[in-house]
Symmetry: C2
Subunit: 235 residues, 2 copies
């Protein structure tokens, strides 16, 4: 009975850390959404609140890191659980960096809202990129929650789309700059936003790949999409 | 005796992983140096070899990850050793991403070497930035090797210098672009190189901060330079 009690408590501890990881994921998703909103609507208050909220993201990272270390030290987890814990440690690093990227977008939003805006960029490409990386992040976190590896290839494919959209946005910005060099400074700010979103896509892809390692014990980082497809579709 | 034997073996295992982390650090430093060399001398062969060598960096990351998991599973390390292992797991993630940034620089180097170069950028600022982040990386790895936290603040200060240099490089590139819009595409490539170097600085700073956690059990990520100075100078 004592053993069973301890076992249940251990399960509850693991479950609580997993819930915190998902909570952190929800928080950074909200940060992305708010940063985009602040950018598109030149809302400097909202931009400031994104920057302020980054400390909540950072606190969660530190908390989850500590929780993971405590579980390892006290519970001496077996192979499967240990893989889960190690992958949570990696996942929150990526979530924290997504939070950083959202903060960078908010910083640009603030700059733009304070500028005299002789040239106001349109954000169609940026919005579409954010839509895509947000979907990637959700899919990755959902895969993490369900320990479902079947969506990893999808996330990796979307990451290629994001990269393509980034290149398209860059070509468009170059055209703007050539047509009117006065837009150069502002265009570069938009370019940095596009770069930040592209990074968010990379981090979401990392998270989806960790799930494969967690479930299959196979590391699919650094392999081609075709190989990844083979690995994740094998049952 | 049996116990002592096992204990020594455990120490040797930990030591071997630490040596691999340093080896990985040396490898990514070489990748940075070669990528810069390829860029400055428009050497496309060297650029290609940097891209090819990235798989060695990735392999080391996977290997060290596995080594760390094995040690945890079999040795049930105590608090101090566990912190060391967790921080190695984080350190190699940053080293791997430094490798990625070196690859991005190599990719630009290749592009530039293949272009007809009606406008050849000078790389003074880039060279100086690389000099600085290389020093940061060395200092961070040295701090890791000696478990010495006294250099962390220095690395964090240098990171601020790198950020300042990045902004200066950007202002200069904007001037170029305004003076001659035909330089826009090439200037953006150089800007991405500067951005990659700035990221390398961020990663080196992360590594230096992990050492503080390893040694002091205190997390100095996300705190101000002044607080960090207080934490690391307390004995």
């Amino acid at each position: 009975m004592q053993f069973e009690h301890t076992y249940k408590q251990y399960d509850a501890e693991l479950e609580s850390v997993r819930a915190k990881v998902l909570q952190m994921g929800g928080l950074v998703e909200q940060q992305i959404v708010n940063a985009l909103d602040a950018l598109v609507n030149a809302n400097s208050n909202l931009a400031e609140s994104v920057m302020a909220n980054d400390s909540r993201v950072n606190d969660l990272e530190i908390q989850i890191d500590e929780d993971c270390s405590h579980i390892i030290a006290r519970r001496q987890p077996a192979a499967g659980d240990l893989r889960m814990i190690m992958m949570m440690v990696k996942t929150i690093t990526d979530l924290e960096r997504i939070g950083d990227e959202a903060t960078k977008i908010a910083r640009v939003a603030q700059k733009i809202s304070e500028s005299d805006r002789m040239y106001t960029p349109r954000f169609n490409e940026i919005k579409s990129m954010v839509g895509l990386v947000r979907e990637m992040l959700r899919t990755a976190l959902d895969a993490f929650a369900r320990l479902d590896v079947t969506k990893t290839v999808e996330v990796a494919r979307q990451d290629e789309q994001v990269d393509e959209q980034f290149r398209a946005a860059m070509r468009q910005l170059i055209t703007f700059m050539l047509e009117d060099p006065r837009t150069i400074s502002m265009s570069l700010e938009v370019l940095f936003v596009a770069k930040a979103i592209e990074r968010i896509g990379d981090h979401a892809k990392n998270i989806a790949e960790y799930v494969v390692y967690m479930v299959k014990g196979k590391d699919v980082r650094h392999i081609s999409l075709e190989e990844m497809e083979r690995e994740t579709l094998q049952s």
